[in-house]
Amino acid sequence: MAKASGSAARADGARTAVRASSALDRVIHERLRLGIVSALAVNDVLSFNELKQLMQATDGNLSVHARRLEAAGYVSCTKRFTGRVPHTEFRLTAAGRRALESYVAHMETLIRATRDR
């Protein structure tokens, strides 16, 4: 009886893991985008160059992923000129912060669901 209830619990855990896995936010699941959102979560504002240095990414790569996050409404981007030099700054939006919190919660759910298996 105990064995049966144990296997039922394991099956339930696996189902939870599958559900949590399938409900993942694909926008920030990608490594570089997850890094950008995490870095902005502990800084009010980061410039393009600061993010590039921090994530060790190329201009093109960072630009593509930042645009994807901007399109999803997770980061806001401000562009201005200092003399003739363009200066791009990124901020995390409220939606972006909620998405990160939700992503961390998903990860924790996955860990709990697959513990001791």
Binding site: A14, A17, S38, A39, L54, V104, I111, R117
Partner: protein
């Protein structure tokens, strides 16, 4: 069970499993432990993940390792991107009060040795007060004092302070105690600027003020030394400590 073998090919190397792959928790732990001996913890997690996913993609063990890896990545990124905010403004204010008291005590000392001893004792007391306040603040905000930016701050702050200790002994033995206020202020300022790179912007600005004051002390009359130390270790700590406490919470 198959024993994973490490092949250093490419960044982070790769894991190769000799024999039949047995997916699941036992292999996960074995792979992680084995790789941890030969490479960094982060690449070990990745390599262990490759082994598991190579055996059976999407199994619960793989999902668990990947989830742990993602959380660790978020934590690492936040540590690298964040600044050290456990510098205690209130601790600085307390150190400033100690310095003002020490300056009054030191001014009354009849000998040079007594004056130096008073300031060294004051420096030690201030260090203990500041460290205690930082530990308390770090505990309050749920961070560890020596993790990420805190560790970098400590590594940058310590060398100039060790140089200050050595120079204090050398200048005192050479009969040049009048140079001590300038040296102390400038080296403390250098340490604060270097360490402050990993903290809030107010901290390196304070370091700069110490260096300027130290430069003044080097060329000022010897009689001004005690009061320039009071202005630096007392006044600057009080002013910047209050600003940090007000702007960054404690």
């Amino acid at each position: 069970m198959a024993r994973p073998e490490y092949t250093p090919s490419g960044p982070g190397g790769r894991l190769r499993v000799a024999g039949e792959i047995r997916p699941g928790r036992i292999l996960t732990d074995a792979a992680r432990v084995y790789v941890a001996r030969v490479t960094s913890p982060r690449s070990a997690r990745r390599a262990a993940l490759q082994v598991i996913e190579g055996g059976q993609r999407g199994n619960p063990a793989a999902q668990r390792v990947r989830a742990l890896d993602n959380l660790q990545f978020i934590r690492d990124t936040m540590e690298r991107a964040g600044s050290f905010t456990a510098i205690s403004g209130l601790g600085m204010v307390a150190a400033g009060v100690v310095a003002v008291i020490v300056s009054l005590v030191a001014a009354g000392r009849p000998t040079i040795a007594g004056w130096v001893a008073a300031w060294i004792t004051g420096g030690l007391v201030s260090t203990v007060v500041l460290l205690g306040a930082m530990i308390q603040k770090a505990h309050g905000v749920g961070t560890q004092l020596l993790s990420g930016p805190g560790r970098k701050l400590a590594l940058c702050f310590t060398p100039p302070m060790l140089v200050a200790v050595l120079l204090t002994a050398a200048l005192y033995r050479a009969g040049l105690p009048s140079a001590l206020p300038g040296v102390w202020l400038m080296l403390y300022g250098t340490a604060v600027i270097a360490g402050g790179t990993f903290s809030v912007p107010t901290v390196p600005v304070m370091g700069g003020c110490f260096v300027v004051l130290g430069a003044v002390a080097l060329y000022a009359p010897a009689g001004w030394g005690n009061w320039l130390l009071a202005l630096g270790f007392g006044g600057l700590h009080l002013a910047f400590g209050a600003a940090i406490a007000w702007r960054h919470g404690g």
